[in-house]
């Protein structure tokens, strides 16, 4: 009995303990590859990842140029780029193949999805579009770059860089091919959402790429196809809202409408047409100017964290402002006179310093009410400093906040910009250049920090400018060029471009017009480099100053800056890059 009991316990032990030895587990919060890539829904989710990774605002590049500055070293090595100080250990650019892998992954795996073949084919073209886009970005920073069309294993052999030529041809070829597959537009249903890349999105990107590559023939061809599709137009408003009307009234201080015979209505509507194309309900794929749209919305996971607090100084915020990005005097100086063709004679740093000192001495101790009263009274224009902002290109007034300028439609409502030079080196959340951005700043921020508005990654104005430039280079300054540019001028309420210009004059004119129209959008970085060494030496050298004479940055150009260094971390993981670094690093 006792023995039986003992063995009973022993058997119980062995069986009881080990009957549950199932060692299988499944990932609880992720889906494993074996259970994925079955349906069109799976393909949809994966392609959404390409859209999620679509490049959008490229303000960082802007700060590597003579357009803008950041006094916050932790935002990036922009000051090092501006001063020829980047190195492999303190690099600039984004040496990443993440988007390329996402596209390659989609292209390889979507084949197993059981779905409509036509849609599958189109979705593959979308993925290839994003891959080409990623290559364009890599090519602009690094020139040579490895072309990878397969889903590489983690232990795949290292790959060498392809030549610049190969990369460029690859981008143009891919975009040309996908343009034949992608539709002109989508019906908005599931798998056919309106915001997807269209044929013209692909061609517009191809035009951009070809222009960057100096391939004006292809650039003109692709841009022309977009224009001739008649699918797109520049955004224009027909009426003004209350805030705009208030500001329009105050514009009398800055523009001598009557004296100069300026059409008030056209100028003001042009100003606000240009400003509001990025705002609120206008920011959507439905906007005729939006050729390719990065969509955002008021949602914690789907908003743009940059186009609000990073742009504004703390002094104008409703909650926070970092003033991480600040436009520089150099860019202000580039804006046309109101005639749309002459440049202002730049005043000396010391004269401006004196002028600013004079007006600031008057304004610095004013109460908020008095400051506003001063900013809106004709007394303001008695000060020399304000003359710099009188009778300028309409886009200047809505691209920047400059001292004493009022903005009635801001997220905060009415705001009169105030710049205290004593805060340089002291208060990092205020501008140190004298200016802040207004263009693209959220007017209805989400969650106090973010911008819920869609962003036009490619807008029609860029296509027009590309077409104009490519055509100019191919055929000269003719009616085609003027037509494209005058469309842009008409929208912003500025006069037509000059009738007659020599080719070189036209090139210089167009470069400046492009700088103004596309300011803040990140094109300047790519443009100055393709304009060549002489241009860079002229524009990207020497001190940039704040209105009080403070040297914001002492720019240094070296031709090695045409390309960025492959970062140390990339060379450390791919030894083939060590002997194939860009020149000068």
């Amino acid at each position: 009995m006792k023995t039986t009991f003992k063995y009973f316990i022993a058997i119980l032990l062995v069986t009881g303990t080990f009957n549950a030895c199932d060692l299988e587990v499944v990932p609880p919060s992720e889906i494993s590859a074996e259970n994925y890539w079955k349906t069109d829904k799976d393909a949809w989710y994966a392609l959404n990842a390409c859209y999620y990774n679509m490049p959008a605002l490229d303000i960082w590049d802007e700060m590597c140029t003579d357009n803008a500055h950041s006094h916050k070293p932790w935002e990036g090595n922009f000051e090092f780029v501006q001063q020829n100080g980047v190195s492999t250990a303190a690099p600039y650019g984004n040496y990443t193949f993440e988007s390329i892998r996402i596209a390659n992954n989609f292209l390889e795996k979507v084949e197993t999805c059981n779905m409509d073949e036509a849609i599958k084919n189109r979705m593959k073209a979308e993925a290839r579009f994003f891959r080409a886009f990623a290559y364009l970005e890599l090519n602009q920073y690094y020139g040579k770059v490895a072309i990878i069309e397969d889903l590489l294993a983690y232990d795949a052999p290292n790959v060498a860089r392809n030549s610049v030529e190969e990369v460029r041809n690859y981008i143009l070829k891919e975009l040309a091919e996908v343009a034949t597959i992608l539709p002109e537009k989508y019906d908005g249903s599931y798998l056919n959402e309106a915001g997807r890349v269209t044929r013209y999105g692909a061609l517009a990107l191809r035009a951009r790429a070809a222009l960057y590559f100096g391939n004006f023939e292809e650039a003109e061809k692709s841009a022309k196809a977009v224009i001739e599709s008649k699918q797109y137009a520049l955004f224009r408003i027909n009426s003004l809202d209350e805030a705009e009307l208030k500001e329009a009234a105050e514009m009398e201080l800055f523009i001598d409408f009557d004296k100069l015979g300026i059409n008030r209505d056209k100028f003001i509507k042009g100003m606000f047409s240009y400003e509001t194309l990025w705002q609120g309900a206008n920011a959507s794929p439905a906007n005729p100017e939006y050729v390719l749209t990065r969509e955002y919305m008021a949602d914690a996971n789907a908003c743009d964290p940059y186009r609000y607090t990073y742009f504004i100084p703390l002094s104008m915020s409703i909650y926070h402002g970092y003033s991480s990005f600040e436009p520089m005097q150099d860019l202000i100086d580039a804006y046309w006179d109101i005639d749309g063709k002459t440049m202002r004679n730049t005043i000396s740093v010391n004269d401006r310093k004196a002028a600013y000192q004079e007006i600031w001495n008057h304004a610095k101790n004013l109460s908020n009410e008095d400051y506003k009263a001063f900013s809106t009274s004709p007394e303001l224009t008695n000060y020399n400093y304000i003359s710099e902002f009188k009778n300028r290109d309409s886009r200047l007034y809505v691209t920047f906040m400059f001292p004493f300028k009022g903005w009635h439609g801001s997220a905060k409502g009415e705001f009169y910009y105030k710049w205290n030079p004593d805060l340089i080196n002291k208060n990092g959340n205020e501008s140190w250049t004298g200016f802040s951005y207004r263009k693209m700043v959220a007017v209805d921020p989400y969650d106090r920090f973010n911008n819920p508005d869609d962003y036009p990654t490619i807008r029609y104005a860029e296509v027009l400018l590309t077409y104009a430039e490519a055509h100019l280079m191919n055929k000269g300054y003719d009616e085609e060029v003027k037509k494209a540019l005058n469309d842009i001028r008409d929208r912003c309420g500025m006069p037509n471009v000059p009738e007659n210009l020599s080719k070189q004059e036209a090139i210089d004119f167009l470069r400046n017009e492009r700088r103004i129209e596309l300011a803040v959008e990140g094109h300047r970085y790519n443009d100055v480099r393709r304009y060549g060494s002489d241009y860079c030496k002229k524009y990207l050298n020497g001190p940039s100053t704040a209105p009080n004479g403070y040297v914001v940055i002492n720019k240094q150009w070296d031709d090695r800056m045409m390309l960025m260094p492959i970062p140390t971390s990339a060379m450390d993981t791919n030894p083939l890059l060590r002997d194939d670094q860009n020149p000068g690093y």
Binding site: T17, A20, E30, G85, L152, Y319, K426, S569, T573, G584
Partner: protein, 1151 residues
């Protein structure tokens, strides 16, 4: 004669209750045989009734009561004649009452008469025992090798029956023949024969019988005699870890065991490492507590007072039985178990204070201003010498005349309190019958911190019960419960802000408002909002509670002699809840513009978040152990099986926008929208294992052992799920050989041992690593979402490519060791040499960027070899009344990467900042820093002569770091990445510990020191560089920088520039200028104790009481003479917490 008779009325045994409640008797069975010298020939109840007792420090009356209680005897005596309150210790087994009485009254001249059960005690007539003609009277004392008197030792005149036993003081008197020889014996000690010729007083030191020295050591799934061990096992007893201010057991074992490196980084939980870093990821040991697998956290939070012993299994022979988890050693903890006998109570308490060991020394505001100006000037000389601050402003900083505008803010002083309180209390209760034994340990710890408004509490319960249901079945059950709570009332100042918010910023304005002025101007929101002092003042709160419970049920079944079948089921459950509240905070009012505020410095949206985490760990283990032994052979064999299931779950939620700051429940927050967030997480793993051990000992001197374990884990694809881990070891006790007999007088024990085995490591394998996964979250865990026409759409993205070939990390460990005991135990030591090869090391290394893989899967790619010596030596002795013990241990470790598969180098960032670097390179050690080698700073002469190299396009100035090219470069050419070399290492070459204790009468002084040698620390970003973000505080050591006035080419810091200067990028490039010597020797503990003498204790009814004062980390000797303000145990990078030193007063009491 006035005879006062005290007659006791005796009840029947077992029903008798001791009247005295003040004393608590301690009794248990000991295996003790005592030679009887004086005996009565007697045949009666008095001869047939045998007693076993172990009464320590009891009165005669208590002993008699005990006899009465256990038997029918009752005593009668005259209290005038018999000193019944005399204290004695009696330890006997199976003795008759007469034998006990003889021993009790051996020196007292007390007689007795026995009439059946009635015993009368009386004072005998004075018996003047005169020495006979050829004899003499000899007096002596018998002591053990620790100098303690041996009570009850037998002294017999050789060849006679004449003898005596020693008294309570170990003394004896005996009349013997002039040339007699005495044989002195006592159980557990070797008998000794001494001649008394020419002596009248003798002192005899009994040497412990080496067989009695058979200390038992806990090993995997069992215990083993220490002398029979063939593996490398170090053990610590409870005594060695108590009396320390540390509330963390891991910190308490630091430096006590060679080859076991405990790293207590300030601010983080200590980590433990056996025999060097074997792999390139996690190399932490396995923790087993009372046979149940646990984690480091559970171990670290045990109450040190309830720990009986800790074993460290260091080699493959001893740890292979734990297979795939044992590659980095095994820590076996045994907690105190119940002991048969009366309840025994002890109390340990301590109260102390803790203070930072080293505090960062920041510059004053005027020094700040001067350095800032200098940095600006060096970056842009055209701007002049006062680009940041005018001389007038610097003057205001200095003279303090405008504290509201130009302050000198000392954040360290404002933020850190010098004294935090720590107190610990623990009670242990143990007792039981011969069928049921119990132990209960209760512990309580209360701790505040050097940061204000916070407290930590810990409650420990350890309940162990074992019961013998029958003589062949024992049930053991235990519950261990640990609760840790942490409460913070108010916000927490950020250590980063202490460095980031400049000392030129006013902490608090004179009008009582929070600071809003930085050097005369309105401060940025970053500074006003980041004011570290203001953080204390918010209505934020945080409460967290972690409960860790281990339920353990086991039985031992002994169906046959020598066979034990054990089954154990353990369920460990951790539950952690935390609640955090961020209250509304007003914007900081502007001091300069009254009526306005500084935007963004307040909090307009209050929020509460809550998280609940749980992990459960279920383990079943079954073992069968059979052992058989005779005079010559002894063997035992063990076979077992175990199954484990671990599961983790987390649920988190947060709500914002509470109507007021008074709510403590989340339900009052937003009920939908962006202010309403929930999250969750879960994972699990399972493991099945078989294991076996075979153990054979021949003639107590040749030993052999073999172990094997097979593990299958759910973390691997089923095709390569099983791992097999065998080990073999052998030992030879040379000292037991016949040819060593002549050396017996000095050599107590000498053993050599060797082991070889293979182990696995699974710690670096993720739970689902062999799957290729797609996730809707990015690698930081935030949701990915795109939107089409303002409808959010889900995004699925490859989270990590699969590696189906994933397998175990394999470790083979060879160990050679020698153990010796010399000179009667005066000198003991252990020497070990080991080679530990780790192969198939799992490394989620950075795959080439071109693959596009951002989260790399682990691969079995590298091989690492660790070699080292471990040496421990203990010397103990007694000189006069002073007894002392000195022990030291040292362990060396050299570490080489033998193979890195296809990669030449794997270079890893020190942190996300991409500044500092580590390199893994074939032939080099793990933990190597990789950067530029420097040769001081450039001088103006170097620059003028063109004797410089450029880097990153920057032409250096005088005072910039002189990077040394590693290639053949001409002056003026560029230094590149190819010029990087290994510039330091953060893994110690050797570590050592020194333990000293001295006892004199009731006083004892002990000190324990620990040190490391050959280790560097690398600092980076704002820990290293002044003005890192633009305005960060420099530290005192920056005052010793290079300047034009003091162009010291070996200055501790190069020329200053502001953050935007390319020279800043140049000088910040990771070089040996950022590496510092982290060697140190530290007096970890210093304890002075006093044991209250027995005579005073008896009045209090206590059996032992010790008072002590102890200090931790009181003295540090450091090799670094450059920065001087960091704790050398700090991890490098950016220091986020300060090290601690402490001083405490404690008491240990046993009742």
């Amino acid at each position: 004669m006035d005879l006062i008779t005290k007659k006791r009325i005796v009840g029947y045994k077992k029903n008798y209750n001791l009247k005295k409640s003040l004393f608590i008797m301690k009794c248990f069975i000991v295996f003790l045989l005592m030679g009887t010298l004086q005996g009565f020939a007697n045949v009666s109840y008095s001869q047939s009734m045998k007693f076993s007792m172990d009464l320590k420090n009891s009165t005669i009356e208590e002993v008699l009561s005990f006899i009465e209680q256990k038997s029918s005897f009752y005593f009668t005596y005259n209290v005038e004649q018999i000193n019944s309150s005399r204290r004695v210790s009696v330890s006997v087994k199976d003795k008759t009452v007469t034998e006990i009485l003889d021993q009790l009254f051996a020196k007292e001249n007390i007689g007795y008469s026995i009439n059946d059960t009635h015993i009368v005690l009386f004072k005998k007539q004075v018996n003047t025992s005169q020495p006979n003609q050829n004899g003499k009277r000899i007096s002596g004392i018998v002591k053990d090798n620790k100098g303690e008197p041996v009570i009850g030792a037998n002294i017999i005149e050789k060849g006679t029956s004449n003898g005596v036993i020693t008294d309570l003081d170990g003394r004896f008197d005996l009349n013997v023949d002039n040339n007699a020889k005495l044989i002195v014996s006592y159980i557990g000690y070797n008998s000794q024969e001494i001649s008394v010729a020419g002596k009248s007083i003798v002192e005899i030191i009994l040497k412990e019988d080496s067989k009695a020295l058979e200390e038992v050591v806990v090993v995997g799934y069992g215990t083993q005699k220490k002398v029979n061990l063939t593996g490398s096992v170090a053990s610590l007893s409870a005594d060695e870890i108590k009396d320390r201010v540390q509330t963390n057991v891991l910190s308490s074992v630091q430096g006590t065991v060679p080859g076991v490196t405990v790293i207590s980084r300030p601010g983080s939980d200590p980590s433990i490492n056996f025999r060097g870093r074997g792999n390139l990821g996690v190399s932490s040991p396995l923790y087993v507590i009372d046979g149940a697998m646990a984690d480091a956290n559970f171990f670290a939070n045990l109450d040190p007072n309830s720990i009986e012993s800790i074993s460290f299994l260091k080699d493959a022979a001893s740890s292979a039985i734990y297979g795939s988890r044992a590659a980095y050693g095994v820590v076996l903890v045994t907690t105190k178990q119940g002991k048969e006998g009366q309840i025994q109570v002890s109390y340990n308490g301590m109260v102390g204070t803790k203070m930072p060991s080293f505090k960062p020394e920041l510059v004053t505001s005027w020094e700040y201003a001067e350095l800032f100006n200098e940095a600006k000037y060096n970056s842009n000389p055209a701007g002049g010498k006062n680009q940041g601050f005018t001389n007038e402003e610097i003057g205001w900083f200095k003279d303090g005349s405008k504290p509201d505008l130009y302050p000198n803010t000392d954040w360290i002083d404002l933020i850190y309190d010098d004294h935090a309180i720590t107190t610990q209390h623990s009670f242990n209760f143990t007792g039981g019958t011969n069928k049921l034994r119990y132990f209960t340990g209760l512990g309580y710890v209360y701790d505040t911190e050097n940061l204000r408004n916070r407290n930590n509490k810990r409650y420990n319960l350890n309940l162990n019960i074992s019961s013998d249901l029958t003589d062949w079945l024992t049930l053991r059950s235990s519950v261990k419960y640990i609760q840790k709570t942490r409460e913070i009332n108010g916000g927490t100042p950020s250590m980063n802000n202490v460095l980031i918010v400049p000392c030129t910023f006013v902490a608090k304005q004179s009008n009582g408002e929070w600071g809003s002025v930085d050097a005369g101007n309105e401060a940025s929101g970053t500074f006003a909002g980041g004011n570290p002092l203001r953080a204390y003042d918010t209505n934020n709160w945080n409460q967290s509670k972690r409960e860790n419970t281990m339920y353990d049920l086991a039985f031992d079944l002994k169906p046959l002699k020598g066979l034990v079948i054990t089954g154990q089921g353990v369920y460990k459950l951790m539950e952690s809840k935390s609640k955090n509240y961020n209250a509304l905070v007003d914007d900081v009012p502007s001091f300069l513009k009254p009526g306005t505020t500084i935007k963004g410095t307040g909090n307009t949206l209050n929020s509460m978040s809550m998280s609940w985490e749980s992990d459960s760990w279920l383990t079943y283990t079954g073992t069968a152990n059979y052992s058989w032994t005779n005079q010559v052979h002894s063997f035992s064999t063990l076979a077992g099986i175990s199954y484990e299931h671990y599961k983790y779950e987390m649920l988190g939620a947060s709500r914002e926008n509470f109507p007021a700051d008074t709510f403590t429940d989340m339900s009052a927050g937003a009920a939908s929208g962006a202010n309403y967030k929930n999250s969750s997480n879960s994972y699990e793993y399972k493991m099945l294992s078989y294991f076996a051990r075979f153990n054979y000992t021949l003639l107590d001197r040749y030993m052999f052992e073999a172990n094997v374990r097979a593990d299958a884990s759910s973390r691997f694809h089923k095709d390569n799920r099983w791992g097999y881990f065998p080990s073999f070891s052998a030992g030879w006790r040379i000292s037991e050989e016949g040819f060593m007999d002549s050396q017996k007088d000095w050599l107590d024990n000498l053993k050599i041992r060797a082991s070889y085995g293979s182990l696995g490591n699974i710690n670096n394998v993720g739970n689902y690593d062999y799957f290729a996964n797609y996730s809707s979250k990015n690698s930081w865990g935030s949701e990915l979402s795109y939107t089409f026409d303002n409808v959010p759409v889900k995004v699925l993205q490859e989270s990590k490519p699969a590696n189906p070939k994933l397998g175990w990390e394999k470790v083979t460990l060879t160990d050679l060791g020698v153990d010796f005991d010399l000179f009667n135990g005066k000198l003991r030591g252990t020497v070990d040499y080991y080679i530990k090869n780790t192969s198939d090391i799992l490394l989620a290394y950075n795959v080439p960027v071109e693959t596009g893989i951002t989260k790399a899967p682990s691969q079995n790619i590298a091989k690492v070899r660790n070699k080292g010596f471990e040496f421990a030596l203990t010397h103990q002795n007694k000189i006069g009344e002073i007894s002392y013990q000195i022990s030291g241990n040292i362990s060396t470790n050299s570490n080489r990467i033998i193979d890195l598969a296809t990669s030449d180098d794997i270079i890893q960032n020190l942190s996300g900042h991409g500044v500092g670097k580590y390199i893994l390179r074939k032939g080099e050690a793990i933990g190597s820093f990789y950067g530029f080698k420097s040769d001081g700073l450039y001088t103006q002469a170097d620059i003028d002569a063109g004797h410089y190299y450029t880097y990153g396009g920057t032409v250096p100035n005088a005072g910039d770091v002189k990077f040394v090219p590693q290639r053949d470069l001409k002056y003026g050419e560029a230094i590149t990445n190819a010029d990087r070399v290994i510039i330091g290492n953060d893994v110690p070459k050797f570590t050592y510990g020194l333990n000293m204790s001295i006892g004199y009468k009731n006083f004892e002084l002990s000190a324990f020191g620990q040190g490391v040698n050959g280790t560097d620390v690398g600092f980076e970003v704002y820990q290293m560089h002044p003005f890192f973000h633009g305005q960060d505080n420099p530290r005192k050591f920056h005052l010793k920088r290079w300047t034009e006035a003091n162009p010291n080419p070996n200055a501790i810091y190069p020329r200053l520039y502001d953050a935007s200067s390319p020279h800043t990028a140049y000088n910040r490039s990771f070089s040996d200028y950022h590496i510092f010597d982290a060697d140190y020797f530290r007096i970890k503990t210093l304890t002075f104790g006093y044991s209250i003498p027995q005579s005073s204790l008896s009045k209090l009814g206590l059996s032992a009481m010790k008072l002590y004062v102890t200090g931790e980390n009181l003295f540090t000797f450091r090799a670094d003479d450059k920065i001087e303000d960091f704790d050398p145990e700090t991890a490098g990078g950016v220091v986020q917490a300060l090290g601690i030193k402490s001083l405490a007063f404690g008491v240990n009491i046993s009742f």
